[in-house]
Structure formats: structure tokens, C-alpha cells
């Protein structure tokens, strides 16, 4: 069965500090996709990144970076030099694919990130 665990319910850091959001997933499939979404106070879920199970290269996009490790079933998200605008709830999500079954995206419970000025 699919499962996404975000153990950190809430994190507060001071602006300009680095912060890492943890994500651990469970799936029996060998082909799957992982996602991170941001949900600012406005409520809309904003897509940040997608990673497939065959690509373990880490990715950096500006102040954001993602560390995918299949050995530990983790897909962690780091914000470097955090800013107040990064304050939001961040969701990790998983979509696995089996032949003959349509993929669906399931979400973790989210981590609420507070960046303090």
C-alpha cells in the first residue's frame, strides 16, 4: 500500500537559516513518482517538483534542493537561506504505477513551516 509520512508537523526557523523538511514514503511498486507541493495561506496547492523512481540525482532550484534516497525511501526538501515568503504548509506526495492500474496521487499530512523575521 502507498503511504507518505511527514513526521515534522510544524517547524519554526529564523529568517536566513536553512531548513530541511523530511518525507518518507512506502510503496511496493518499482515505478513511482514523488512530488512536493507548497500551500501558502491563500490555500492553493502549488507544484514544486516531481521526481521519478529511476532518477536519484539530487536537484537544486535556486534556494530549494531535494535529496532523493531510495535506500531509505526518503525524499527530503531543503530551503537554503529561508525567507518569510517561504512560510507555508509543504506536502510530500507519491504516485505509484502498476500496469493496468491508473496512478493516483496521495499526500502526506504536511509540515507547517514558519519563517520568523
Amino acid at each position: 500500500a502507498q503511504k507518505v509520512t511527514q513526521a515534522q508537523t510544524e517547524i519554526s526557523v529564523v529568517e536566513k537559516e536553512d531548513v530541511t523538511l523530511d518525507c518518507v514514503y512506502e510503496t511496493r511498486d518499482t515505478t513511482y513518482y514523488l512530488f512536493w507541493y507548497k500551500q501558502p495561506p491563500s490555500g492553493e496547492l502549488v507544484f514544486l517538483i516531481r521526481r521519478n523512481s529511476f532518477d536519484e540525482q539530487n536537484e537544486i532550484s535556486g534556494r530549494y534542493s531535494w535529496n532523493f534516497q531510495k535506500s531509505t525511501s526518503s525524499f527530503n526538501f531543503t530551503i537554503t537561506a529561508s525567507q518569510v515568503v517561504d512560510s507555508a504548509v509543504y506536502f510530500c506526495a507519491l504516485s505509484d504505477v502498476l500496469v493496468g492500474r491508473d496512478d493516483k496521487i496521495i499526500f502526506g499530512k504536511g509540515t507547517r513551516l514558519h519563517i520568523l523575521p
Partner: protein, 114 residues
């Protein structure tokens, strides 16, 4: 391109009343999802359509919730009768038919049942 459109943005109803939400996905997106997000929790998938067919409704409370996607474009989600525990944000999302693509979300409808 236009994003996923949802209406209304907010709705307050009394328990046992009925309510309907509307979603217009991104043009050309074959897959449409309805999620329920209770305050402080992650989105929970209620139903997934591919074109106008249901591919997953395992978590839809079918005794009170129904959804349709006529003509494979717009979709409506209905609750009848509503319960207090249905208070949540209802999110619609769409994605292309390609496997593993990300879903794009609308702004959601915040439902309060009193």
C-alpha cells in the same frame, strides 16, 4: 494557460442540507481529481476521473457524496445530506493523461457545515 477553476470559493450550509461544487480543469487534461482537505491535514483523494470514467472512488462516502464528469470536461461534486464532519476544503485538480505527471490544483471550496 488558464488554471483549474472552482466555484464557489466559500459555502456555509446547515447540516442535512445539500451542496454542490463545480470544477473546470485545465484544457486538455484528461485526469480530474477531487480531494477533501480537513483543517490541519493533507488532501485526501475522494474520486479520480479519466475523461468521463471513474478510475478510483474507493474513499468516496457514496451514501452521501456523488460526483460526475459529463463530457469528460467539467465536474461537479455533491454532498447530500451534509454532516458536520464534512466541513473541509474541497480541492479539484487536473493532470494530463501521461503517467506520473503532476496535478495542478484549483483554489478550493471551503465548506462549513453548521
Amino acid at each position: 494557460e488558464a488554471g483549474v477553476a472552482q466555484s464557489p470559493r466559500y459555502k456555509i450550509i446547515e447540516k442535512r442540507q445539500s451542496v454542490a461544487f463545480w470544477c473546470n480543469p485545465i484544457s486538455g487534461h484528461a485526469t480530474l481529481y477531487w480531494y477533501q482537505q480537513i483543517l490541519g491535514q493533507g488532501p485526501k483523494l475522494l474520486i479520480q476521473f479519466q475523461n468521463n470514467g471513474v478510475v478510483d472512488d474507493s474513499q468516496l462516502p457514496k451514501d452521501r457524496f456523488s460526483a460526475e464528469r459529463l463530457k469528460g470536461v467539467d465536474s461537479t461534486l455533491k454532498i447530500q445530506p451534509a454532516k458536520l464532519e464534512d466541513s473541509a476544503v474541497y480541492l479539484c485538480a487536473s493532470s494530463s493523461i501521461k503517467v506520473g505527471t503532476e496535478a495542478f490544483f484549483g483554489q478550493g471550496t471551503r465548506l462549513t457545515v453548521v
